[in-house]
């Protein structure tokens, strides 16, 4: 089944409430996907060379302080590291490829979940409500976010197979559905030098879109290509630093509902996970139609 959620908060003054509003959405959609969950939140780190890196290590009791010290010593880069349980959050001017290279050499058990000037990703195995609690989602402040609750039908249940998937910088995607041609897509992308981290079908869609964008297309144009190239069922919710984008495949078997008020745009698999939002009774509510690209910018 799987559940998808997304929230974009329009006035800056209300962005401190993102976590408070989105956490009940995720808890509720835990009914649709109880095996793992993830959330990508976007808030600009500021102008300048700093990037945000989200790190994950599945080893219990992993010493993040040690990693922070080793990072400064080995890379001669400044880095501000904070950590909660399995997740580390590094803010640093280091180039992403240098960080990846250093991590794979020094800390091969640590995975880079996301890179960018705005994005931050949390994902883990377990019930979504428990994951939201573990990582303090309720306290998050950001302009927009996308989240996912997974009921695995296609590849393993693991933190790495949890959504959101990311590719490149400041881009992520969550998916409800299943693709039937991820491997042919993947073989074509691999020939063009695109690396994969898992055997998950959603990762193929994510990397396909990011590759098209890297080749110069807008996300909207990349999605038009995806309508032709992706075979299968999907409701896809994506985010970049500046927007939230939603599409459903031609059959539209996988649900989605959108609620918009002057304060927010909220997307979910089911209305019941939006029922707690302020002003929902007077929100403009609609069900997105097949193969239409819905995009909301900050």
């Amino acid at each position: 089944m799987c559940g998808i959620i997304g929230l974009l908060i329009k006035p800056e003054s209300k962005r401190s409430r993102l976590g408070e509003w989105v956490t009940p959405m995720m808890d509720c959609m835990g009914d649709r996907g109880p095996d793992s969950a993830g959330l990508a939140v976007f808030s600009p780190v500021g102008d300048g060379p700093l990037r945000r890196f989200s790190l994950f290590c599945g080893q219990p009791g992993f010493d993040w302080t040690e990693l922070g010290k080793a990072f400064e010593r080995d890379t001669a880069s400044e880095g501000n590291l904070s950590a909660i349980e399995n997740h580390g959050r590094l803010v640093s001017p280091i180039a992403p490829e240098s960080l990846e290279e250093w991590l794979s050499r020094e800390f091969p058990s640590v995975h880079l979940l996301s890179t960018g000037r705005s994005i931050e990703v949390y994902k883990d195995q377990g019930h979504p409500a428990e994951i939201a609690e573990r990582y303090g989602f309720a306290g998050l402040a950001a302009s927009h976010c996308v989240g996912h609750t997974r009921m695995a039908t296609e590849s393993a249940v693991s933190p790495a197979h949890a959504h959101p998937f990311t590719a490149g910088e400041d881009f992520c995607l969550v998916h409800n559905g299943s693709l039937s041609n991820p491997w042919s897509l993947r073989r074509r992308l691999e020939k063009r030098g695109v690396d994969f981290e898992t055997d998950n079908d959603t990762e193929a869609a994510c990397r396909f879109l990011e590759w098209r964008m890297r080749e110069g297309e807008s996300l909207e144009d990349a999605l038009k290509a995806a309508f032709i190239e992706l075979d299968g069922f999907y409701t896809l919710l994506m985010a970049t630093a500046g927007k939230l984008v939603l599409v459903r495949d031609a059959f539209a078997c996988k649900p989605a509902v959108v609620a918009e008020t002057e304060d927010y745009v909220a997307v979910s698999s089911e209305f019941r996970s939006l029922a707690h939002l302020p002003g929902i009774r007077s929100a403009e509510l609609f069900e997105p139609v097949p193969e239409e690209i819905y995009s909301w910018s900050l």
Partner: protein
């Protein structure tokens, strides 16, 4: 007019299971003839399987399967509904004042489903004798494999309307994006105008039966045709 006894049930205080237990077992004994459901908040399975002559007002948006398997009740939703509203309804009436998501009235055997707004894809899929009236549009693959009953669409119909249709008849007032396999437009006969007029009069919608087109099965799929080369 005689005032109706009204029982109000708040789904922030009771579960859907408790609500349905009450509607199945206590209506008819304590006999309120009218039940109001507050804070439905998109919950699934609200007021399913009702078999008592009660009027139910749902004050807000419902989730999946609302009013499913209804036999005697008249259910009015003052909001939108999720998937499969009134699915497998046997008789009675379900009215949705907002819009309905996919599979509205799926496999309904009887009764009237009236959606004032638009219905999403697969409206009336596998309809088995019920009547559906939609004030707005219907989405793609509506009335797919519908076997008996009527689907009246006051707005437009999406792609693949009436695909693999059996004996159900579809009436569309607006544009038809495309017809599905074996569905065809046919001339309206006097009995078609009468059927549409009678269904519209039950909903209070103000449009003329003369504005509707009839879509029914061409029946070419009724028998296996070895020469058809699977090209329908």
């Amino acid at each position: 007019m005689e005032s109706l006894e009204l029982e109000s049930i708040d789904l922030q205080k009771l579960s859907v299971r408790q609500l349905n237990h009450y509607l199945h077992h206590e209506i008819g004994t304590t006999s309120p003839s009218r039940v109001e459901i507050l804070n439905p908040n998109g919950l699934h399975n609200i007021a399913v399987g009702l078999d008592a002559p009660v009027r139910v007002d749902v004050r807000g948006h419902g989730g999946y399967f609302l009013g499913g398997m209804n036999r005697q009740a008249r259910i009015v939703v003052h909001g939108n509904v999720g998937w499969s509203v009134a699915e497998n309804m046997m008789s009675g009436e379900v009215q949705v004042k907002g819009f309905a998501s996919q599979c509205a009235g799926a496999s309904a055997h009887g009764g009237l489903l009236f959606i004032e707004g638009s219905a999403s894809s697969r409206c009336g899929i596998s309809l088995k004798g019920g009547d559906i009236v939609v004030g707005g549009h219907v989405g793609h693959m509506s009335a797919f494999m519908a076997q008996a009953g009527h689907l009246v669409v006051c707005g437009d119909a999406g792609a693949g309307l009436g695909d693999s249709l059996y004996e159900a008849v579809i009436y569309v007032r607006g544009k038809i994006h495309s017809l599905g396999a074996d569905a065809r437009e046919e001339p309206m006969a006097e009995e078609d105008y009468a059927t549409v007029g009678q269904l519209l009069s039950r909903t209070g919608l103000d449009c003329s039966p003369r504005e509707f087109k009839r879509v029914a099965s061409a029946k070419t799929l009724y028998h296996w045709n070895v020469d058809a080369d699977q090209e329908y």
